[in-house]
């Protein structure tokens, strides 16, 4: 950790693209508000990935370019298009689906992730109040939890830390962290660097990470 400027890594769009590569064909996936919603634009239709919106849609294909229908939005308030075979349900059924383990993966934004995979993503202490939405249920219920976020704060502070000092979303819930600098797996042994962003060294990732990082001998560069 230094006061230097962190190296330029992936754009938001490329983080979303890299997150999309974590999704397997046929999966049911929930996308959080903000950066994660971009993920829908980077999946192949042939992969038959079904997006679930916690406000009560299973099977939207992406953000709609057509007329806005106020009753047909995703959890970020954006208009969406449906795939054939989509369905609607109420919030109780939607969170039964989420909490009950029926969602294969969720891609959420993050403020901090700890060594143990604790997630903080709903409350910025400096701002207070907070907005939790469905994040706590998704963190508890999604079979695979992918966090897509900037590697450091605007002030250059690491977001990947030994222990979160922001209030938690859930304990030990994160499986993979995808940032502008790296792909990091949360494993039994600790945080494991899986891939580096193009032009980013493993040493640079380590420098901007606030927790112990397991670094294999050969850490491949992402292919995007």
């Amino acid at each position: 950790m230094t006061n230097a400027t962190p190296p330029a890594g992936l754009s938001r769009e490329l983080i979303a693209l890299r997150a999309a590569r974590e999704l397997e064909p046929g999966w049911v996936v929930n996308l959080g508000i903000g950066l994660p919603t971009l993920v829908a634009g980077f999946v192949e239709p042939s992969d038959n990935i079904l997006f679930q919106a916690e406000n009560g849609i299973l099977g939207y294909s992406g953000i709609s370019e057509s007329d806005f229908d106020s009753d047909l939005i995703n959890a970020g308030g954006q208009p969406v298009d449906l795939v054939p075979g989509a369905s609607f349900f109420d919030t109780a059924d939607s969170f039964a689906m989420i909490r009950g383990g029926h969602i294969d993966a969720a891609v959420l934004g993050g403020l901090q992730v700890s060594e143990q995979g604790d997630l903080a993503n709903w409350y910025v202490p400096a701002r207070g109040g907070g907005s939790v939405g469905g994040a706590m249920d998704l963190a508890v219920g999604a079979r695979k939890l992918i966090i897509a976020m900037a590697h450091v704060t605007r002030e250059g502070e690491p977001r990947i830390v030994e222990a979160c000092d922001y209030p938690l979303t859930a304990e030990r819930c994160v499986d993979v962290i995808i940032t502008d600098l790296a792909v990091i797996d949360v494993t039994e042994s600790g945080l494991m660097l899986r891939e580096r962003a193009p032009g980013i060294t493993a040493a640079a990732v380590e420098e901007w990470t606030g927790a112990a990082l397991l670094i294999p001998d050969d850490v491949p560069e992402m292919s995007l």
Binding site: D71, G77, Q78, Y123, V132, A170, E171
Partner: protein
Amino acid sequence: MQAEVFDTPDAAVSDIPDGATILVGGFVSAGTPSNLILALKQTGQTGLTAVANNIGLGDLLDELCEDRQLAKVIATFAIRASGTRSSRFEAQYRAGEAELELVPQGTLIERLRAGGAGLGGVLTKTGLGTTMAEGKQTLELDGERWLLERPLRGDVALLKAWRGDRHGNLQYRLAGLNFNPVMATAADLVIAEVEQIVEPGEIPPESVGTPAIYVDRLVQCEPIPVRWDG
């Protein structure tokens, strides 16, 4: 088993008392009873507690803060982390003039469902190990820890549906369901705005989203379009 049909949203909400707890259906722009919210603004009633998914996300609930009608909000989205846009509610919350109880969305809907379904509570893992668990009972059962969440009810529910029949059956469209069907079960007085009032039988029995017995009042009005772009 007739719902009372009102000519205007103002008439439908005119007798809501000060200090009432009001469940407000909808999710951002979908299924949101904007006409009823604006009518509630006209009443000028104060000391209200609003239970809603969101406030200040393009919804009109924040309008109730113009005249400081909301003493408390129970919601899942309230104060945005980014701070790029602020709401009247946020200002009043920061000034200590309005209270906020933030609840995870899946827990909020289960608490409301319990309130409507005669359940004393549910056990969830959501919120365990977080500030949401503070002051709440946890149970350890077969080696697993659970958080006990208690029921939540309102004095009044304000709902939005697509069509309503004169008995009170409601039919929703698209993702307009969200919180509405459960909130319909969890308030003493249930008021729904609909785009069309039809005769009983016109809504097919398989397409009824809220059965007639839950709905006390109906008012037909043009939906007010709202939008939130993040």
